[in-house]
Amino acid sequence: MYRFWSIFVARNKEYYRDRASFGWNIMFPFLIIFGFALLFQNGGQRPYKVAILTSQSIHSAIQTQVCSHDFFSCIPIADKEMAIDKLNHHQLDMVMENLPQPFKYWINASAPKGILSESLLTRKAMSKDELNQRLIKQTINSKPVYYIEWLFPGIISMGMMFSSLFGIGFTIVRYRQNGVLKRLKATPLTSFEYLCAQITSRLLMILITNIILYFGCSWLLGFQCRGSLIHLLIFFTIGTISVISLGLIVAARTKTEELAHGLLNIITWPMMFLSEVWFSIADAPQWIKRFALCLPLSHVTSGLRHIMNDGAHLFDLSSEIFYLSIMTIIFLFIGSIMFKWTQ
């Protein structure tokens, strides 16, 4: 225990005294969240761009029927040829003459956003009675989840992933490369004690930075966790240990920081895109969904969202906790077997 403690303390001091790296680890998730908060404030950007062919003011009928719509962003362009060219290159979703009804418009038939904007326009053209005859609208009664609330658990999982994988991976590889591990090998310290100290130190730092991040963002952006904060902390800890353990596999034998960088990128990029941090993979092929289940970050993101957005209890996350625990055991086992002190 005294050996574990000695390395744990040393590693913590190293971490917080390296001001540049420590500062960046805290600032990075903050910057991403604030960036998104700014981007999506007041409902976010209008997703469909409509060019109105005019060099003067937009016709009042178009203003009322099109530009006032929440999803249309009207851009006056005088040059028709240029507007059509942009439409062709997917830079615009629709081009419209600056005339009263009936509206004359162009879309790119091969562009999904063009087709969607046309649908929105035709829906707008229908009367309420016409619509009610064809469709019955249902609404959800629960409190809506705002995009930033949905995004936040994904962002903290992503920040945790980078900090865990690169933090543990690079540190161990650098220590191996410059001989620190070799020096430690010539002491009674065991690889188990050393790895435990590394994991615990990194875990502590990630927890501290993310607690600061959570309360900072919660205060500044005004969202809150619908579940228990204790459950959130416990689940986040379980997830972090799992991702750190994955980092150990990369760090176990890698000889150079360059190779570690490549290997870590191979792991982080698929995790970032397949773990639903940014977007859902509900419509992805089945094999991709199955593959995503093998990635710890998928379970971390899903569990955090359940707690934060849906108020889930830890018991509701038993499958996520089960998968993460199994992965942790497997990763730790492989990492400790593969671990080498020297190059």
Binding site: R3, A186, T187
Partner: protein, 309 residues
């Protein structure tokens, strides 16, 4: 291999038939030796001779291909690492820890510890103890490494080229520290390619080349055995071709130019006769220097003068 006369029972550390291959390259070729407690044991050899591989196998850093290492007549176990101190040729430490914290970190890895203040004093680290490791000089770093090697009050200390790259002052300072450690009865295993260092510090040496032991014993005895006589040094312009011919014809004398080609080095067991010969031939002796053979002469004689890579 020279292992005759070694009593494997009496050494604190015994190495038997050590072999290490890296692929097809044999780095250590059936080396055996024994180190008695309380001595400074030198492991000498040119670059790539197998010194560091041998020492790292003993320390447990590298696995041997075959061979046996006994500590106090028993195979090494976990307690071996409690009893040894190690200073590697080149390793880094935790960059953002201070000198004092680094020693403390390593001290806490052992059950047996010495006083931190004492270590700081012994290794002359008082002035830099609160500086971060990344900000200290090469000489200071080597003293810190030595302090860490002594953190557990070890019985057996391995110093792998501890003075490489240091200026003469730092080197001599480190020698003083090592001598002080030696006086406390510690066993030291030192690798170096500074022959002066080995001659000053080592009680016993082995010279290794191409993975094999080529000489083993007490430095002075080895010098006497292998390099008999004295060396007379003269500026080469003082010695005419005629005198050189006379030296060539004398069976008790050999000569060669030194590495700078400025001096002629005459090796002889009959110094008086040789000087008489030089005087009789009107050689200017005003810049003459006579010195005994040293370990470097022995080393060069055994390992040759060809450059090693």
């Amino acid at each position: 291999m020279r292992n005759s006369g070694i009593n494997f029972k009496t050494g604190r550390l015994t190495v038997k038939n050590l072999v290490k291959y890296y692929g097809k390259i044999c780095a250590v070729n059936n080396i055996s030796f024994s180190i008695a407690p309380g001595i400074c044991f030198g492991l000498l050899g040119p670059n790539g001779a197998g010194k560091t591989t041998t020492i790292e196998i003993i320390e447990g850093i590298t696995q041997p291909t075959s061979g046996e290492i006994l500590y106090n007549d028993a195979p090494r176990n976990r307690s071996f690492w409690e009893r040894i101190g190690v200073q590697f040729q080149s390793t880094e430490l935790f960059a953002f820890l201070t000198v004092r914290e680094s020693i403390q970190t390593f001290m806490r890895l052992y059950r047996n510890q010495v006083s931190l203040e004492q270590l700081v004093r012994i290794c002359s680290l008082e002035d830099i103890q609160h500086q971060e490791n990344r900000k200290i000089s090469g000489g200071q770093k080597q003293r810190l490494m030595l302090a860490i090697a002594l953190a557990n009050n070890p019985d057996l200390i391995f110093l792998d080229e501890p003075t490489t790259g240091l200026d003469p002052q730092s080197r001599r300072h480190l020698w003083e520290i090592v001598s002080a450690i030696k006086q406390k009865g510690k066993t030291i295993v030192l690798t170096t390619h500074y022959m002066e260092e080995a001659q000053i510090l080592c009680d016993e040496i082995i010279i290794v080349d191409k993975g094999k032991i080529i000489a083993q014993g007490i430095p002075e005895e080895l010098i006497t055995q292998k390099c008999a006589g004295q060396i007379i040094r003269l500026p080469q312009e003082n010695v005419s071709p005629h005198v050189r011919q006379l030296l060539d014809s004398n069976q008790h004398v050999t000569w060669h130019l030194d590495a700078t080609n400025k001096f002629i080095l005459i090796q002889t067991q009959t110094v008086n006769a040789c000087i008489e010969l030089l005087m009789n031939n009107q050689v200017d002796l005003s810049r003459l220097m006579i010195r005994p053979h040293n370990l470097e002469d022995l080393f060069l004689q055994l390992t040759g003068k060809a450059l090693r890579h």
